[in-house]
């Protein structure tokens, strides 16, 4: 099957791994990721103000491109996912906003949030199925204790993201189980890492991030997985005792496609 895939700015630069492994795993699982032509950066964060139009246009363009191809739109970066899903929700529910955006874009056919937006994790759970992922595993990670770090962007606002229970999520844990490892549940997996505050107040980011990594390690995790480049940066930068990797890398390892290039 084919889906529209929005990689996002960071996946082209600092988070190439997140992107590369996502593509390889998708291929292995029978999903082709098609990039829309000329996609633009989503802007990193969703501006909740209802009168902000310009900052949301790139998301709408990507959504529209997927609609034209009658495909789902899949993202892997948490930030892109959050921005695009929230924008799509606004297009569905805020008629005034949608009217103005459509006016601005001036396309023949107005867009009203018809495209289905999925995170790569949702693609694995709802489209591919974790059972199928499990069957595709060649290097079982049995015995490995892995903590999922969701951060804020994947889950919240939960009435829009609708990915999982925002207080007790299980989607990454289920993936970890599917690839044979043991998930470690710890309380700060859905708390903020500090995000872009790292830029001007690194101390604040440090306080937040180290709370997360300490808690994960304290609950016995050997490894933290995340879907967000900025989360990864913050957790690593602020002295995590345990490694932090993208979930796609872990999946690639399990599916035996991690070292493909070197063969």
């Amino acid at each position: 099957m084919k889906v529209t895939y929005f990689p996002g700015c960071t996946l082209r630069t600092k988070a190439k791994d997140l992107d590369m492994y996502a593509r390889r795993c998708a291929e292995k699982l029978g999903v082709t990721l098609e990039e829309p032509k000329d996609w633009q950066c989503c802007g990193g964060v969703f501006t909740t103000a209802r009168d902000e139009i310009a900052t949301k246009l790139s998301s709408v363009r990507a959504l529209k491109a997927a609609k034209d191809k009658e495909q789902m739109l899949v993202t892997v970066c948490s930030a892109c996912h959050n921005v695009i899903k929230q924008t799509n929700h606004a297009m569905q529910t805020d008629a005034d906003f949608a009217f103005r955006v459509n006016n601005y874009l001036g396309e023949d056919e107005a867009y009203h949030g018809e495209t289905k937006v999925l995170h790569y994790l949702e693609l694995l759970r709802d489209v591919v199925g974790f059972d199928k992922v499990k069957e595709a595993v060649v290097n079982s990670l049995a015995g490995k204790k892995i903590a999922a770090y969701y951060g804020c962007l994947l889950l919240r606002p939960s009435n829009v993201m609708k990915m999982d229970d925002s207080e007790n999520p299980s989607i990454i844990e289920d993936l970890i189980r599917a690839i044979g490892a043991d998930p470690v549940v710890y309380p700060y997996r859905n708390e903020c890492c500090g995000g872009y505050i790292a830029l001007e107040n690194p101390e604040s980011a440090k306080a937040k991030s180290s709370k997360v990594t300490k808690s994960a390690a304290g609950h016995g995790a050997e490894l933290i997985v995340t879907a967000c480049p900025l989360c990864k940066y913050n957790l690593e930068k602020n002295g995590s005792e345990i490694p932090v990797v993208y979930f796609t890398e872990l999946l690639a390892e399990a599916l035996g496609v991690k070292e493909e290039d070197n063969e």
Partner: protein, 130 residues
């Protein structure tokens, strides 16, 4: 409330889509906020102060730039008030003023380190500048 404040209040309510009178003052937003300690005014105060028109202190407060829109307050508020959206609307009211950008392009190079993802820079720009 004078007319100017009243208009500002209405504008903030309009662009945020948040109705502050729904707040029942339980303080769960502030209980949940990860940036609480860095803030001078806390989420519940944003809600109360916008409601009562006491907006000027908020516009001038550094607290505006401490909220990371992590939506924890939005998700946990029992009344559906969505404080983060209100904070954002107040922040926009501040940075949309001429020359009031909290983050300027010239400041960036000094803040960078080589591992920092772009995402951080674009996000910060979006939140702090106009």
């Amino acid at each position: 409330m004078n007319k100017e404040t009243e208009n500002l209040r209405k504008e903030i309510v309009r662009i945020s889509g948040v109705n502050p009178v729904k707040c029942m003052r339980c303080g769960k937003c502030s209980a949940t906020c990860p940036a609480y300690d860095e803030m001078e005014y806390h989420p519940h105060q944003f809600v109360y102060m916008v409601e009562s028109g006491d907006i000027e202190p908020l516009l001038n407060s550094k607290s505006l730039y401490q909220c990371l829109t992590c939506f924890a307050c939005v998700d946990r508020c029992p009344r559906g008030v969505e404080p983060a959206k209100l904070v954002e609307a107040v922040r926009l009211a501040a940075v949309r003023k001429q020359g009031a950008n909290h983050l300027k392009a010239d400041d960036i190079p000094a803040l960078l380190d080589e591992d920092l993802p772009q995402q951080a820079i674009v996000s910060a720009f979006r939140k702090y500048s106009k």
